[in-house]
Symmetry: C2
């Protein structure tokens, strides 16, 4: 049970975290700050936060739990702005989709105080953003990846594991680099491909006709292309090395499929499609199996 959550960023992810904590009875008071005062105000009106703070530093004042739910590119500035109030009794987490850059930002901004920071990536989201879409069950039944480093305080790591578990999440730990390599493959690259497909179709003269014919397969495939462009710009830039490596591997596979198609090699094409279809058929979201 926490006394006070300092919430920095009252949008979809941060707002849902506050609501989930409140619903689970894990926090007494939520003090929130967003860069945009209208977001902070809306979050209070929606009952997401109890008190509006005029700065990130003041949101952290008196908090024993801090969640930083800002775009990953704003992590370092956020750590800097709160560093004077960070102490060893405080659990600080983020919810960013990349971890190496956030870990580096924490170390650089907080120095030895970065031990209070437990980097976290809950695997959830919506293609819409903002406090008005926050909901208490965004995290339940989902996976949360924690990427502690050698300097992370064990006591805070333990609190983080207990907290997410209490919210109904299945918690895993790995290194920031292993995290970023995996998510380049299963998240950042799919987003890049979905954005690229929409971009490619939109740039064609017949775009409107084409899109009017698209069905449920297209709808699901491109759902992630409606995601927040600024957030995804930051993620792609932050994890560019791993993302470009995965893109190169993907292009090799695509090129070999193209060559089977253009040369009429049905048998080879079927072989690759069979393997992919089986692999996808076998796959199930981990947290779906372990939770609920």
């Amino acid at each position: 049970m926490f006394e006070q959550l300092g919430l920095i960023g009252c949008g979809l992810m941060g707002g849902s975290f506050a609501l989930a904590l409140k619903q689970a009875g894990l926090v007494k008071r939520v003090v929130g700050y967003s860069k945009s005062p209208t977001t902070t105000e809306r979050a209070r009106q929606l009952g997401i936060i109890d008190v509006e703070a005029p700065s990130a530093l003041l949101a952290v004042s008196g908090a024993d739990l801090v969640l930083i739910a800002v775009p990953v590119a704003a992590s370092e500035a956020t750590f800097k702005s709160i560093k004077h109030l960070v102490n060893a009794n405080m659990l600080i987490m983020d919810v960013g989709s990349t971890k190496r850059d956030v870990v580096d930002a924490a170390r650089s901004a907080l120095g030895p105080r970065s031990g209070s920071f437990v980097p976290a990536h809950p695997i959830t989201g919506k293609e819409v953003s903002g406090a008005e879409h926050a909901c208490a069950d965004l995290y339940a039944g989902k996976q949360v990846i924690l990427t502690p480093t050698e300097s992370t305080l064990t006591v805070q790591l333990g609190k983080a594991v207990a907290l997410w578990t209490a919210l109904g999440c299945s918690v895993r730990q790995m290194s920031p680099d292993a995290h970023d390599a995996a998510f380049a493959a299963v998240s950042h690259l799919p987003h890049l491909l979905a954005f690229a497909l929409i971009g490619s179709i939109s740039s064609q003269e017949q775009a409107r006709d084409f899109l009017s014919l698209a069905g449920p397969g297209f709808r699901d495939f491109t759902r992630i292309a409606a995601s927040d462009p600024v957030m995804w710009r930051d993620i792609m830039m932050a994890n560019r090395q791993e993302l470009l490596a995965q893109t190169a591997l993907f292009k090799n596979t695509l090129a070999s499929l193209e060559s089977m198609i253009s040369s009429g090699n049905s048998e080879a094409l079927e072989g690759v499609l069979q393997l992919a279809s089986k692999a996808r058929g076998r796959w199930h979201m981990t947290a779906q199996k372990t939770a609920k």
Copy 2:
């Protein structure tokens, strides 16, 4: 109202068509044939067909409506096997995802009798196949594209439009070539990309770890990669020219995104992501708006 449906192919698409017609009271009797006798038998046990036919020709005997729901690569052989019973009072349709190859197959196999054939592509499906997944509402509220040619009989085209409309579909007409170009962009390429992504991830040593971390975005993006590999091999081969043209355009867009990422050009990257996100946000499935 039709007297007798001759159903060639009693799988998901064909079986659902028979169930939908029965539910709407549009057909008195369904005679079915599948290449595999066990499929035909299961379709009868499931109430999809009333009578099992031992051949495609015998399924057509006495029918005033014929649906060919076989893989597109089997179209020509199917047309040939039934041509002696095809007449001008019969409406013949298919449900294939490509149209130029099916139109050519009908003309080549049926000659002047191909006027009874109204090429049809209902934009629906599931990532599972087989009679046991057939359901009466697979077509309701969906788009159906008809691609008549100059030799299509007006009377049969009129019956086709009325039939699909009665099943709750929104019906559009276009040329086979326009159809194939559009579906290369909004269906065949997305499938190719989804298969390629799964193939690329699966070929990596850490595939199992990576996949265990994938979340809802990955789930939706790759859902179509679980589709029937043989069917998709045939579609990709049948529409290879348009598919490879769309793949080339896609690769250009992807390459320009990669170059923005590798050169750190955040502004340009954000511009492309903004446009794509807006385009995807504006898009809605046409039939969803017009039906129900």
